[in-house]
Symmetry: C2
Subunit: 453 residues, 2 copies
Amino acid sequence: MATTDTVTALEVHDVRFPTSRQLDGSDAMNPDPDYSAAYVVLHTGSGDAGHGFCFTIGRGNDVMAAAIGSLTPHVVGRPAPATAADLAALHHDLTHDSQLRWLGPEKGVSHMAAGAVVNAAWDLAATRAGLPVWEFLASMTSEELLSLVDFRYLSDALTPQEALALLRAAEPGRAERAERLRAEGYPAYTTTPGWLGYDDAKLARLSREAVAEGFDQIKLKVGADLDDDVRRLRIARESVGPRVRIAVDANQRWDVAEAVRWMTALAPFDPYWIEEPTSPDDVLGHAAIRAGQPVPVATGEHVANRVVFKQLLQAGAVDFVQIDAARVAGVNENLAILLLAAKYGVPVCPHAGGVGLCELVQHLAMFDYVAVSGSLAGRAIEYVDHLHEHFTDPVRVSDGRYRAPHRPGFSARMKPASLADHRYPDGPVWRAAASGPAADHQHTTESERPEHE
Amino acid sequence: MATTDTVTALEVHDVRFPTSRQLDGSDAMNPDPDYSAAYVVLHTGSGDAGHGFCFTIGRGNDVMAAAIGSLTPHVVGRPAPATAADLAALHHDLTHDSQLRWLGPEKGVSHMAAGAVVNAAWDLAATRAGLPVWEFLASMTSEELLSLVDFRYLSDALTPQEALALLRAAEPGRAERAERLRAEGYPAYTTTPGWLGYDDAKLARLSREAVAEGFDQIKLKVGADLDDDVRRLRIARESVGPRVRIAVDANQRWDVAEAVRWMTALAPFDPYWIEEPTSPDDVLGHAAIRAGQPVPVATGEHVANRVVFKQLLQAGAVDFVQIDAARVAGVNENLAILLLAAKYGVPVCPHAGGVGLCELVQHLAMFDYVAVSGSLAGRAIEYVDHLHEHFTDPVRVSDGRYRAPHRPGFSARMKPASLADHRYPDGPVWRAAASGPAADHQHTTESERPEHE
């Protein structure tokens, strides 16, 4: 058995959903996303498999798929990951290949590809353990968790000894917090009302509906036009009342001074945070924006790696850390980021949405509550009611809370029919599109933002 | 003529040189590089062409080639670039495609691919103008140069008005400085003596030879073992005497405290700079290293984009800015970086070596001298005597100086026979390798560094 229990194949799919036709997901920087996944399956000699993916918004998903495929020699033939030791070794080999590091290092396409494979290995390992990933992680000792983290470049902010102390401090109460999650779930917020493509009436209606559904936080996209944003934020505030949190998200639209000016104008409507005010690489810019206006600052969905998160925390640049499950090198690197956030006492409010990001990241937030931060204060996971029907273990959100997943694995598995239907460019959905009027959107750039419905 | 003067095809080559067999290019992070290029040719209806490339060190070069190929719809059918306006538009479209930005934004594989295509367009435009790129740039007005720059995310450090003032201040003397370059060349330094794979006798011999050849600066790789580095730096200092500059390069090996400790130990040998002491993403780490030990700090060859360079300058983190011609989005983004460095008064000493990086970057350094910084003080372009024979317009270095290129274009064109011979994996060089003992080095990671000769 032992000799056949290896990874036998790495299978890659380019899967895309034609979401640009409805302008769901439209924001100030991304007018026409086609939500997509570069999807990977690790097959093993034992017959079970691990699933993972990167999220993209259309063009370039083929490049991501090629990058994942290029990792095949690192994965096929390895023992199937089952323990923290195996997962740490896989993570190390994928992120420390000296030739592949030249393509980053630890950023962009090559890094996201490593993350997809690492996450697929976590899906496999947790499935084998018969536990959802959040419980699989929470079943590990503090020492096992520590061994998963690559501390290179972190020691000026967080040493292994400090990280171990944080984990040990969270050991008491792990079981109680897990039980509370199973009973009550984890807070969610919804971005559904606030896409830029929606008109005022739809914004007001969806905002009221969100509150009626039990959400106590919503999010609006901003950044295209200040007068529009003032009007939209007023409508949202009038729709939800003074107690519901309204976060706003500029999707990297501004320079520093513009962010300060814009958010000073929106501050009277009491935004809970301003998300991605500027370039995700701009640590000092975020610090200046935070210092220059009264609204708390959040970022992370495009932050390339733990080194940039480290600096955002060192510089006091953020009030909220927004991890993304599929941007960095998988569970291992996100564990490093959770520990950094805990060290600096900054709450983690994960980014989600897209394709399957909610499914993945709920596990990380719940694990954070059980075994790292030990707190729900100020925290919520983003929720977008979108494309979940394509997953075999979709998120369950009710009364404004994510319900704890109980099925083994990472909730990462897409239905075979969904993979087949949305295969790009030759799946049925895309063959149908090629004969329709919506097919030609290959050249839209930000400056050519289409008129909205 | 006008209707046929478009880009008609984008052709991509995966070209690799089996340099790992000799350990030329070995350093503390890159034990076995196979110097490679993802090479692009833009063909036009007029019959002329533009050439460009990304440099990689082996694995992943196929992913880079795929990323370049994915830009075909943005390029084919466009008017052939000939003016600053065309080049600015191409640069904008390649870096602001909203869907492709998700893969970065502006970093890693997707960004380097954009850079290769932008640089190929510069090769085409300068060829058509009958000028080498450095003179083509220097022939533009300050306003034309300004129009080439994407100022997004820069305005807190450098406004367009400030940049224009810098360019105008350098207008007097442009012609005299260009003439001086044609007569005297641009200072070079050599990394040839200092690869980690070389033994002490070879280090001493090559160091002496470098001085005899007219170089007044050499560079040593460091970071694998402190005792070795102390011994090697002593040998190098004894070999070249007290007046020749010795830079050292750690290739991102250290955390902050380790860099401070290591460089404090090497400081008695008077290193000119410590290059890449830690992660290229770690702005605050570089600032801490600069503050914590006496050796000046240099970085840049892996800095992802202008936003990170901006912060390195804002934070006072670097004494030398090391632009790379093929890491960021081509000439346009490097112009932004040259302007930022000029604003902060920090000298630019370009990274080169690899495949063709010397050929490209000499044009940028010479343009910087003519029309931006106006100074050679403290400046030198890296030189490695390696693989130049594969280019049709190779660099000419003599008496320790780069001689000014005078042939039209970007010196970017590889000989057709070199492209064919080194095509991966089926070119003659690689088919021969596949039958020899050196063929299987697919799984070497940093921790498995091979014994050196």
